[in-house]
């Protein structure tokens, strides 16, 4: 055989600017237009954001082509919604010189980010997250995806936003349960990477729960710093990025076992406690550490025990089908200290025997 090889060049290092403020939504358009004046704009948002007046605030009631996801929420996070968005863009005569602006929570960001990744081989996207979970987590890092009729995130791409605008004032109208569940990702960030941030959360949780803008801006900044530095180091989740999965291995299984009755953050809250118990079981932690974590989650009001109607076996079964499972059993992210992930042979996701998981799950059923 004759052979030749083509070198696919490295992409250039690009930047994602994150801007954080209070009540900035109304002034963003001017900035976006000055930065991306040559591009056509297309907004993707959902019906809740429209009701809350956020779309009108962003556009100052200008007539900008847009797509409103309806119904809002996970139920619309599927490939059919993406098809509808692409067709709406074509009907608006938009081409490759378009920038998509995603205004909303994690679902909107995932859908709009994926649409941007695939529209005519990719157009840039700006993320304007409006929920605690999207501001802390999903808007940064480039993961996008939607569900097929068979499974979650069957379709997806890594597609980094060119800008992320975080307006903490948008959180004011967020439903209390959503608000609190979203904060679990902030707690997770502190646990895996920033002990000072953990102390900050312990000291300021009351103000955060009262949604005081100044403390929310600080929280957003610290979240983006943690998430950003992890993503910079390992954008495609070959190793270190897995640490963001702390509390998620059991968390995802609990979420699915609840039939998605539990919010993602609520399930992760349970998963974080489970990870802490595993650490104790493996001799990686003192009781005092887990008590601090438990205390903060208790104050958040997210669950820290297994719901009565979910059995250990259900969770074990679901874990075997985890998308990151190798030989039908997933690896775990654990910490050695608050702010410091445990590694073994340079790996951030480590083995934990099923028996240990079963044991701690049993413990988590007790009152």
């Amino acid at each position: 055989m004759t052979e030749l090889e083509i070198k696919v060049p490295a992409s250039p290092v690009t930047g994602c600017k994150i801007k954080i403020g209070t009540n900035i939504l109304g002034s963003l358009w001017k900035e976006i237009d000055s930065d991306y004046g040559k591009l056509s704009k297309f907004i993707v948002t959902d019906e809740n954001l429209v009701s809350a007046g956020h779309l009108a605030k962003l556009t100052s009631s200008r007539d900008v082509p847009h797509f409103i996801i309806s119904p809002a929420g996970e139920i619309s996070k599927n490939i059919n919604t993406v098809i509808s968005i692409i067709e709406a863009m074509e009907k608006a005569y938009l081409g490759r010189d378009t920038i998509i602006i995603a205004l909303g929570g994690g679902t909107v960001g995932d859908i709009a980010g994926f649409a941007a990744a695939v529209f005519k081989r990719g157009v840039p996207v700006i993320q304007i997250p409006t929920t605690t979970v999207a501001q802390a987590d999903s808007s940064v890092g480039g993961k996008t995806g939607v569900d097929s009729s068979l499974s979650k995130n069957a379709f997806g791409a890594f597609w980094h936003p060119v800008r992320v605008y975080i307006d903490v004032a948008a959180l004011a109208s967020l439903d209390e349960r959503q608000y609190r569940a979203g904060l679990v990702e902030s707690v997770k960030h502190a646990i895996i990477a920033d002990s000072e941030y953990f102390l900050f959360l312990e000291n300021n949780l009351d103000s955060i729960l009262k949604r005081k803008p100044d403390v929310l801006k600080k929280t957003a900044y610290r979240n983006c710093r943690v998430k950003g530095s992890v993503v910079e180091e390992d954008p495609h989740e070959k190793n270190k990025r897995r640490i963001l999965n702390y509390g998620h291995t059991i968390g995802h299984a609990v979420e699915a076992a609840s039939g998605y009755e539990l919010l993602h953050g609520e399930a992760v809250s349970i998963g974080i406690i489970a990870a802490g118990l595993i650490e104790q079981e493996m001799g990686l932690a003192e009781h005092e550490r887990l008590d601090r974590i438990r205390k903060i989650l208790k104050k958040l009001g997210t669950p820290i025990q297994l719901p009565k109607n979910i059995t250990e076996n259900e969770i074990i079964d679901l874990m075997k089908r985890d998308k990151k499972a190798v030989n039908k059993w997933p690896k775990f992210v654990l910490i050695s200290n608050i702010g410091e992930v445990y590694t073994k042979d340079g790996q951030y996701a480590v083995e934990v025997k099923p028996e240990i998981v079963k044991k701690i799950l049993k413990e988590m059923k007790k009152d």
Copy 2:
């Protein structure tokens, strides 16, 4: 506003190995399995390839999970086929540790390449092109895409194959019209980048048309070298990659005006002559050069005049809607010599006044 910036790291330089041979299809599986033993395999092909026995030859009748596109051809190049492929992969319990193998012509490569780009945020793909157009052009370079119900390639991604295997023996069963039309992209490669290759084509066209393996291997090699070097320099078509569009600006419009009765290569054949006439009109070429090009296309038997039932105005109208048009008029790739693209101010796509295009289109209607 508080600001921070995340640097999205450069992707590493990666390689795409291209291997060219005769009757290699039956021995590829061993090589793929040795290079990618840890990954599950999933084959995407179409019903024509199955009938021709190519699928069985590739797998040695092993039971490999696969998807057969049916009906074969452009009509299946749409997002619904991609959804069916992804769901078939899920039903086969395939995860991220999967490699997709695309066996077929340009359509199969486009569909399977796009499915690989979006399945669970992207899995690697191997291209095994089996037509003249796919072997010369579409299998190399990473452009993938499928149509929406409204327009061509509305969904797409740049997704480079990790391997391209070119078996020139697969061309033996190709329909004569398809075979000849696909060779137009080879002529294009010679015109834009390699005057020696052009000479080679002039001297060897008889053997190529007789599908003699040795000369076909040389042709494949030269095509991949031209395409590969252009793609290496400009993978995302910011400037130089546009030269691959030679003959395509008018070609695409002619193809659409014919209601896709003309094959892509046939329309590009007309487009190449049109580009040559524009070059003459702009004082960039002698008659002798266009005569050489005309002679080679005549021998190929692809059209070099505008079909009677297509008017100049139809073409002009379609050109205004070209996806690369800026202010409703596309730019042109022209050559200054065979093997050398004309540039103006460092740009490979240059302005040509609509009047010139109208004039030469009129000329192309005459007998």
